[in-house]
């Protein structure tokens, strides 16, 4: 399993692997939004939590179809399916690799973009905390969507249509944590719910995704 993880990471960092694409997209969102809504610090401070979360979510969405598509095309997914590792484990490892190359960098870079968007001081800690707790759910839900659409040619748009509604609870609780954190209010309830969704998704969705891959490999 470690070999699989290292292989996925190597592929992602290689040219054309898509690492950095999500980060660049995230940066662009943070630059374009102030250009669109105007530079008033008060307005930006008010919308910063939501924009940062939506930006992270869309950046995560960008690289989802890479989770399984390349392996499906060159046949290595068939090999993985017949390997001694259970397919559920393969899905979990691949989702984890996706998180390492998108969710984790997004989490680390978010405070810098928070400065651009004039996020109020107490919000930074909670921004990082909420992204750290929430982005694993984005990766594993995305892996499920990618597993559903892996057999479809040009399924990228369909993948977004399937995955975005599933992202709703994570987005709501994640942005709520930052909003409350920035206002200096109590954050434990949304943060716990966010972590609960992540834990539940991590526990259950690899099974659904593995079932979908088995169907697609038939």
């Amino acid at each position: 399993m470690r070999a699989l993880l290292l292989r996925d990471l190597r592929l992602a960092f290689r040219a054309g692997g898509g690492f950095g694409l999500g980060l660049a997209f995230f940066l662009l969102v943070a630059v374009l939004v102030p250009l669109g809504v105007g530079p008033e610090p008060a307005t930006l401070a008010k919308i910063a939590p939501g924009i940062l979360w939506v930006g992270a979510l869309l950046a995560c969405l960008l690289s989802l179809d890479r989770i399984f598509a390349l392996d499906f095309e060159d046949g290595s997914l068939d090999l993985l399916a017949t390997s001694p590792i259970p397919l559920e484990g393969v899905v979990a490892v691949k989702a984890f690799a996706h998180w390492l190359v998108t969710g984790l960098p997004l989490t680390l870079v978010a405070p810098v973009l928070g400065v651009l968007l004039n996020l109020p001081g107490p919000g930074y800690l909670w921004l990082v905390a909420s992204l750290a707790a929430g982005t694993p759910a984005l990766s594993v839900i995305g892996a499920f969507g990618a597993a559903l659409t892996v057999g479809i040619k040009r399924g990228g748009l369909l993948l977004s249509l399937l995955v975005l509604p599933l992202y709703v609870p994570t987005l709501i609780f994640g942005a709520e944590v930052v909003k409350r954190g920035a206002a200096g209010a109590e954050v434990s309830v949304p943060l716990l719910l966010l972590a609960g969704i992540t834990a539940g998704a991590l526990a259950l969705l690899p099974f659904a995704a593995a079932a979908a891959i088995r169907v697609n490999l038939r």
């Binding site: 479809i152 369909l158 399937l162 509604p165 609870p169 709501i172 609780f173 969704i197 659904a208």
Partner: protein, 243 residues
């Protein structure tokens, strides 16, 4: 003789052909009686004026929008567990019907909200949850259309339906948490409690709900029959090409 016999497409076609005219007739009677009664023969509400008449469309369609998804969930489970094709096709047939009911609930809600709340749309939990439900329907229908092999499509959509159900419920509670709403709670189940719906509205509303349920059954039966025929058609055409 068991219920599962009707999972045989031939048996299903025979039974549904016999039942269809009765369901169709009953649907027409319930809808006409309920809607005419609701539109022409109910009094105005002292606060909401004549807009209460929208309840006879809004409430039944909203109920059926959710019930259609539940029916799809049950049909998907039956398909995954017992591999009855009719069940998978019934789920496929129900999705556009559910989407239409969702759209009706949203449109009538907007038209009702405009005079009552002063706005077409508010990011109220119930409204938002319905919008998200519409997105789930769209994704489900799109997945059915995108996958070419029918059995693969049935399996994938069934898995999506199960996961989607969990997330739809989660979203419902998430948006409730996110915003307290303008929308009032349901009053239908409050009969016998305080602040129930008035009897003058209750009876025609029940008739309308029955009409919408029957309409759903009617449409799903018709569409399932079409799907079974379409499946047989493509099988015959495939055999023709091979010969």
């Amino acid at each position: 003789m068991s219920l599962w016999e009707y999972a045989n497409p031939k048996k299903f076609m025979q039974l549904s052909a016999g039942v269809l005219p009765w369901v169709g007739g009953l649907t027409a009677v319930c809808l006409i009686v309920g809607l005419v009664w609701g539109f022409f023969l109910t009094p105005d509400d002292f606060r909401q004026g004549s807009t209460v008449k929208i309840i006879f469309l809004h409430v039944p369609s909203a109920m059926m929008a959710i019930n259609a998804w539940v029916m799809m969930l049950v049909a998907s489970l039956i398909w995954l567990i017992r591999r009855h094709h009719v069940s998978a096709l019934a789920a496929k047939a129900a999705a556009p019907v559910g989407l239409t009911f969702t759209a009706i609930a949203l449109v009538t809600g907007a038209l009702w909200g405009q005079p009552m709340w002063g706005t077409w749309w508010a990011w109220d939990p119930r409204l938002t949850a319905f919008l998200i439900l519409a997105l789930f329907y769209l994704g489900y229908i799109a997945l059915w259309q995108a996958v070419e092999d029918p059995d693969t499509a049935a399996d994938l959509t069934a898995v999506l339906c199960m996961v989607g159900s969990v997330f739809a419920v989660l979203s419902r509670y998430a948006v409730k948490f996110w915003n307290q709403g303008l929308h009032q709670d349901s009053t239908i189940l409050k009969v016998g409690e305080k602040d129930p719906i008035a009897p003058a509205f209750y009876v025609p509303l029940v008739v309308c709900i029955a009409g919408f349920v029957l309409l759903f059954v009617l449409l799903v039966l018709m569409r399932t029959r079409t799907e079974i025929r379409a499946r047989r058609l493509s099988a015959l055409l495939a055999r023709e090409r091979l010969a």
